[in-house]
Symmetry: C2
Subunit: 157 residues, 2 copies
DNA sequence: ATGCGATTGTTATGTTGTATCATCGGGCCA
DNA sequence: TGGCCCGATGATACAACATAACAATCGCAT
């Protein structure tokens, strides 16, 4: 799938379909189980380019899956994160579909405080700067969280 | 006050005293009220170089202040953040004393997953990389969160 | 058929954070 | 001096986010 700015208009249906197809291919290749439940949760997270809370996922999931409870959702989210199919946005306690599933990475995010749209970027220079900063402090970096909030291009007056 | 690696041994008593003195000076200068309650909360947050949860602050505060309730603590934490005296570590839902109080900045943090010690760094190159990444996406950055978790120098075998 | 591991169901609870209204206390001014 | 305003704190309740612990189910290899 191709990276795409969250704010650009696009056929989001295709966007979701791409994500699901990529997910199915990846899990098949890895021998992990993208069950119908997990796929449904992935689809719900992908409904928009805005991070979605676990309980919003639960509400949506419950429409078609009455047995859904918080652990149902959190387990699915955990699986999807472990497979690199979604990211957690720590500053929002919310989850977002990953645009580069398959290429292991820790995401870098631009979060619009006005419209909520959140764009995942992959910036090698930023990545290098993060590594360098850690190295200078003799720190072994494992997970690198970058969440920049502000105004997206569409929301700047 | 001088920046200091979280893992280095030092006279932490002096470390706290410095932080409190700086805080008092800053609030005095700004005409904001560092009340006894707020100062006590700041002191509790500074008890170590590990981020501390709001409810841990509450437990500690309640020892000397029986009326303490969650809003008591959250209001104090909000004030201290607004004054730039503490930071919130989003990935831990916890709070940490700021080592550069007075110089407005969004912190960058190295969080040891083994010992919990968290070092605040101020890295101009990283700052530049963050700005550049946002600019490339035509994004107006306001708050920049960087939280790197891994192993600190002392915890690397 | 049986036992094993992975997935999901189910109930309960733990953790983090806010909304709302009441009360207190100091400064200000008529 | 008395009343008023406002920022800080008290107090109660609740909302939002997340996990513990155990039961049930199901495919599959032995």
């Amino acid at each position: 799938m191709t990276a795409r700015a969250a704010h650009t208009s696009h056929n989001h249906r295709a966007c979701i379909d791409d994500a699901l197809a990529t997910a199915r291919a990846l899990c098949d290749e890895r021998g992990t189980q993208l069950t119908p439940l997990r796929e449904k949760v992935l689809q719900i997270v992908w409904k928009s380019h805005k991070p979605v809370g676990a309980y919003d996922v639960l509400d949506e999931l419950a429409r078609s899956h009455k047995a859904a409870r918080p652990p149902t959702v959190y387990r699915a989210l955990d699986f999807l994160m472990a497979e690199g199919l979604i990211h957690k946005i720590e500053s929002l306690n919310a989850y977002l579909g990953c645009i580069e599933a398959g290429a292991p990475h820790t995401g870098q995010f631009l979060i619009c405080r006005n419209c909520g749209a959140t764009e995942e970027i992959v910036d090698p220079k930023l990545e290098t700067a993060l590594e360098a900063a850690a190295a200078r402090a003799h720190f072994k970096a494992e997970r690198k969280i970058v969440e920049i909030s502000g105004l997206c291009a569409r929301c700047i007056v």
